[in-house]
Every structure is written in structure tokens, then in C-alpha cells.
Subunit: 229 residues, 4 copies
DNA sequence: GATGAATGAGTATTCATTCAT
DNA sequence: TATGAATGAATACTCATTCAT
């Protein structure tokens, strides 16, 4: 391997080091209250060094999101590309993928949704803005594909798969934000896991073909006992 | 008619004047890039005057949200208190109410969700924090009541109504944020109206009693023709 | 009495009302932390009204000092003009006068010394500056006269009476300030009374003619038992 | 000679640079009219830099005083520790020390007395407040020791040495303030030198044992010819 | 005269970013 | 490359003062 390559690898290691530190600090203090000084300290580097790896604070922040979008797309690609799998299983895999992304890094995920809905987005460099936009619509496209295969496979009623993807995405992002809010307002910690599970089931029931003749379909209409009626 | 009352009214008018200006500026520039100077200018007042009506920038920002939460709760109360209405109609009314809230003031609604998921929440005065928390959980409670009446009325399967309310709230907030994001990323403007409609239908189908014996229930399982396949 | 005169009297009453309030607020918060709003509230008037009676905050502050300087000079005049009194008694009366001034209004007295040694002095209107200067040097002159009479009366050694007056004045102001400082630093409250008494005795001993032939002079060389040796 | 040590020295140099500038600006404009911007300009630094060395304006101001208190204590320690010196000489040395402190830095000395008698004192960080308090009472203790040795040595009458120290301190601070006031009111500049000298002599005469049997003691009862009678 | 709402100039402080070493 | 001291632009907030009522 060339010396060039080794340098590149070293450089990437530093970037990750900074990203990890940034993630922690942003999560704890929020974008505005987190200072570059804080992040440098957490990364055990000097403030100046951060600027050797990231153009500015906004781009460092956005980089966090890039990472999780890439991970999401990778996971979705796996689901899509798995051969010889029936549509119903694919949707199960979609759910698992979304879970995984959340568990992979809940904090960065929150950052992603903050970013998407905020002023920061407007201040990015055109290139980074483009990256975000492409990755983001890439995710939607992938989810759309999965829904379409479900429709084509006769699993779902003929909804618009693009809209289904957007609804799923909204549901997901809304729950992540709502969970964060509950953590602040109510100190309630384990909201998302169970709720997302239930939401997914309801959503699948909602779009599923109502197949009166197929008792097997009842399989994933799991009963949800009302807990507090 | 007293002088006291007139003054109070005048004061309220000023508050509204400032809130309207703040809404515009915050929406255009985001919380951090909006300066009090900007808002004062927009309101055609001096910076100092803002502080006669709002303790600080955070509280001015939070006040925007208070307003829409109050409006939401009022609308939900109407739905709840309507007498002699069958459960199915109530849920329809819930949908309409949520629509209305969105249309009442989309921008402030976005502020609300920003606020709920952000650092700002931690910096509010205890009183305002309390107000937000109470109004927010008040909304959830009201939606919960509506779902419970649907369950009691035999309209829905026996899901936990609290969780249903949270899922609906997540879906709603997620869609509002996603819409904003799309507006920035894709210049797509009219996402929410149709999507929320469809999401609501799917959600209702998902939680609905699967009444094989009742062909009439198909009535509101409107078909959603795929638009872009 | 004319209506003119009544008005004048009314006006003076208001001025006093404001001065009393200002004194309290300045003493509690210090010059800079005391706001005109605070003073207005204390005086149960509106901020605007203060400006009908005092040109600005500096002048209001300075007015406090005027009052006590006038009182001091009045008391000193009494001492000077008392006829047929022997020099030794006069000096006793001087001590009593200084005591009285302190007791008349310790807080305003502190204000006076703050004022004399501060930036405020430079910002006064020329008229007020003149008033302060005249009253202040008037006090010095009066004290000088008393010392001179003591010298002429053969009571004291032939020190420069001007300098004696300045030393006395310095001693007095230094003790008042030191007392305030102790109140803040040590919560020590009753410093001045006893200490001034002792200082005065030492001072008189220091300037007194050493009359070896006159045992009567021992009268006011009171023994000061060491308290903590 | 370590790099650590060199940096520390450099840092101290900067602090001094700022202190010198602050001293000039505070003296010229007073605490409130002096802006951090002014001080930065005088120090040929940027405003931000000041905050790398001093937490805030109050602490910068207070730091000026620390320095002179430390110097005073050091000088007093010298006087105390000088071996084999007779009490009378010690008191002479005390006078010299006080002179020196005044000449070392009249402006900072004024700041010290402003500080001690002002609102600023209440806003300091607890640590700095403690430092001031300790140094200040340290000075008093040292002066007390000197008076006690004078009493023990039979030089003075048995006054309470604590109170003597306080009187001396009051006299000194009062004269410094009075001098400043005169500079503003009368443009009179060289008050303190001669007056303090005379005050000291009077004070010593006042507390000295009246030794009728010892004509030699007249030695330092220098005659003070009246200058302006 | 009295009011008190409105003003807007004034400033301490922060922190992203740079650059000499 | 890495540093971290220095920068200085940017801004929330205060409060003495004014003036229409």
C-alpha cells in the first residue's frame, strides 16, 4: 500500500475521532450551546485542528447526519437486494432495518432530523447540501421500492408507494423527535422501541389487503392489549 | 369598559403585534439567526419595547407555541364535547381539527416542534416550561380520550389509547417537519394536505375492527390509487 | 401667604419625598445598580416625575450630599458662633457636631464620600459642581477656624490649622468608608462610634500643648484600656 | 527553563500588560465609564483577549487592588521581621512603608479604597472576595502587631492596638480619597505627602507616653509652623 | 403637574475562526 | 500537521431619558 493511502487512512481516523466527539457534545448541549472548543476538548485536540478536517461548525454538524444516512441506505440496499425473498418478509426486514438505524446511533439520528428541519440546512456549502439532499431522497427512493414490491406482490392495497414511503419516514422522524421531547419533558426514556413496533403493525394492517379468505394473514395482526383502559 | 380593561386590551394588542413580527422573522431566519433587532424592526418598535412584553428571546419564541397549543386544545375540546355523536364521526372530526390547526398557522406549528425537540426547552423560565408541558400533555390526553371512545364504541381494536395518541402525534409532527424539510430541499410545497389525509385513512384502517360481517365498514376504506407507479 | 409660596412649599415637599426614596435605594444598591425606576417605585411616583424635580440621575445623587453638607455647616456655625465659650469646650463641641452629622444620616454621609472621590463628580452640571465645591470647602474653612481659635487660645501647638482641618476631615471620611467596608467584609456593625471617639482623643492629645506645669490638662487624656492585649 | 515555565511567565507578562492598561483607563474614566473596549485598546489587544486573562470586568478591577495589598503586606512584613530594632524605629519604618505603598502606585491605591467601599465588592467571585478580605485583614493584623510592639516596648500608652491599626488605616485611606477629591475639586496636586507626614507625627504624639521626666522624647515632636495663618 | 410606555444608545461577553509558531 | 493564543464581529439586554396624553 502506498504512503498516500496510509496518509488517507490516518486522515479518516482523525475525522472519525472528531465526529465521535462532536456527536457527544452536540447531543448533550445542542447545536448552539456546543462550542468548537468543547468539541476540541472532547476530542483531545486543539480547536484549530478541527478546521483541518471540517470547513466550519455547520459542516461538522452536517457530517454527523451524512454518516447515518449512509448507514441507512446501506441497510436498505441489503433489504432490497436480498434475492428470493417474498414481499412480506421484505417488509419485516424494512422494519428491522429502521430499528437498527435507530439503535446504531439514536443521537445522530436526532441530529439528522434537527438538521433537516432547520436553519442550518440553509447555511451549508452547496456540495454538502447536495450530499444531504441526495442521500435523503435516496433513502426515500429505497423505501418506495420496498413498498412498491409489496404492492406488486399483492401484499398491499394499491396506495402510492412514494407517499407510503413519506408517511413511514414522517412517522419515524416524528417518533424520534417526540421521544426526545418526552425525555426532556417527562424523563420518560423507553418510548420509542415499543411504540414504533406498534405503529409499524398498525401501518401494515392499514395498507394491507383485506384478505378475508386468507386466515394466515392474521399472523401479523398481533393483538395489542390495551394497557390502561 | 374601565380604563384598566382598555389598557389591558391595548397591551394584548401590542403582544400580538410583536408575536406576528416574531413569527415572520423566526420563520425566515430561524431562531439563532433572527435577532431581537430584526424582530423589533419588523414590528416597527424599538428593541427595548420587546422586553416590556417578553422577558427574553427564548420566552418570546416559546410564546409562539403556547398560542397554537391553546388553539389545538380548544379544537379538541369541541370534538370531545359534541354530544350525541357516534364514535366514527368523532374520529373524522379529530382529523378535521388537526387539519385546522395546521392551517391556522403552519409556521408556528413548526416552531412548536422545533421547540419541543431542542435546547431552547431547557432554558425557559420554569413557569413557561410548565405551561408548555401542561398544554402539550393536555393535547395528548384529549386525543387519548377520543381514541378510547372509539375503542369503547367498538370501532377500534383494543389498542392502548395512550399509545395511539402518541403515534398520531408523532405522525403529525413528523409530517410537519418533513414538509418543512422538503420545502427547503425540494421546493415542494403542498405535501402535507394530501399525505396527512392518506396517513389518517391508513391509520384508521390499521386500528379498525376487522369486521368481515360488516360490508358497510368498507365505506371509509377509500381506495388510494397509486399516483406515480 | 401667596399661592406662589404654597406651590413652592409643595414642590419642596416632593423633592424631599424623592430624596428620601433615593437615599434608601442608593444605599441598598449603590449608585450604578440603583435604577431611576427603583427610586420612582420607592417614592411611589412615576419615573418621569423624578425628572420634573431633578435634572438627571447624577444630580439627584449629588443632591443627597448637598443636604448633609448644609447640615454639617449649620452645626459648625453653631459651634463657631457660640459666644463666651473657652477654646477647649469649642473643640469638644466640634467632636459632638461631627458625631451628630454622622448620626443624622450615616447613609447619605457615605454617599457624600463616594461622590467626592468618584467619576460622578466629573459629570455634574457646573452649578451643582460649584455648590458642592463651595459647601465642601466651606466645611473645611469652618473646621479651620475652630482649630485656629484653639491655637490662638494657646490650647494647641502651632500647627497649620488648615492642615489640621484636612487631617480631621480625612480621618472622619476614612472611618466612615472603613466602617462601610467592614460592614460588607466582616458584618461588623458598630465600629465607628467608639473608634471615632478614641481617634479624636488621640488627635487632641497629639496637637495639644504639652503643658507639664498644668496637671488639669490631664482631664481629657482619658485612659484607653487595651481590650485585647 | 522548561517550556511550561516560559509559558507561565509569558502569561504573567500579558496579565501585567492588561493590568497596566486597565489602571490607566479606570483612573481616567472611573469604573463605569471605562469600557472593556477602552482597556483593550489601551493594552493594544482585542476585547476578547481580556477575557482570556480575567473573568470579567469586576474581577479585572479587583485584581488591581490585589496587587497593591500584596505589596503593602510584603512591606509590612519587612518592617516586622527586621531584627534588633527598637520600637520607635519600627514605627518610623511603618510610616516609610505606608509612604512607599502610596508612591508605588497612587492610582491603584485609590481603586482599592473605591473597591472596599462599594457595590463592586458584592459582585466578585467568592474566591476573589476571599482574597481581598484575607489580604485586607492581613494588613490590619500586621499594623496591629507593630502598634502592640510599641506598647509592649513602653513607647505608647496602653491603647488597644487593634483599634490603633484601624484608626491609622482610616486616616490613610481617608487622606488618599480626600487627595483625589481635591485634585478634582481644586486641582490641588501635592496634598498627601506633607499632610500624611504631619498626621503621623500628631498621631504618634497622641498615643505616645507622656514622659515628663524625659526631655529627649521631644526629639520627634517636631514643631509644625503654621503655614497660612 | 403627573404619568408610564416607548425609546435607542450603549456594552459586556461569547465564540467561530485564523495564523504565527 | 498540530497548536492554542488572539481575534473581533456579533448581539441580547439594560436603563436613563423623553413626550404624548
Amino acid at each position: 500500500m502506498g504512503i498516500q493511502e496510509r496518509k488517507e487512512r490516518e486522515r479518516e481516523r482523525r475525522r472519525q475521532q472528531i465526529i465521535v466527539a462532536a456527536k457527544r457534545v452536540f447531543s448533550e448541549k445542542g447545536f448552539n450551546r456546543a462550542t468548537m472548543e468543547d468539541i476540541a476538548q472532547e476530542a483531545e485536540l486543539s480547536p484549530g485542528t478541527l478546521y483541518l478536517y471540517f470547513k466550519n461548525k455547520d459542516e461538522l454538524y452536517a457530517s454527523l447526519s451524512l454518516r447515518i444516512l449512509q448507514y441507512l441506505n446501506m441497510r436498505l440496499d441489503h433489504v432490497i437486494k436480498e434475492e428470493g425473498i417474498e414481499p412480506a418478509k421484505r417488509i419485516e426486514a424494512l422494519k428491522a432495518a429502521i430499528y437498527d438505524v435507530y439503535q446504531f446511533d439514536p443521537l445522530i439520528l436526532i441530529n439528522l432530523f434537527h438538521l433537516q428541519s432547520s436553519e442550518t440546512l440553509k447555511n451549508l456549502s452547496p456540495e454538502l447540501f447536495d450530499d444531504i439532499q441526495k442521500l435523503s431522497s435516496g433513502s426515500l427512493d429505497r423505501i418506495t421500492i420496498l413498498f412498491r414490491s409489496g404492492i406488486d406482490g399483492g401484499l398491499f392495497d394499491s396506495f402510492d408507494p412514494v407517499v407510503l414511503a413519506e408517511i413511514l419516514w414522517s412517522l419515524f422522524s416524528g417518533m424520534v423527535l417526540w421521544e426526545e421531547s418526552k425525555r426532556i419533558l417527562d424523563d420518560d426514556n423507553n418510548f420509542l422501541k415499543d411504540t414504533l413496533d406498534m405503529a409499524f403493525e398498525i401501518f401494515l394492517r392499514g395498507i394491507g389487503k383485506v384478505r378475508e379468505e386468507d386466515p394466515g394473514s392474521k399472523g401479523h395482526r398481533i393483538g395489542h392489549p390495551a394497557s390502561s383502559i
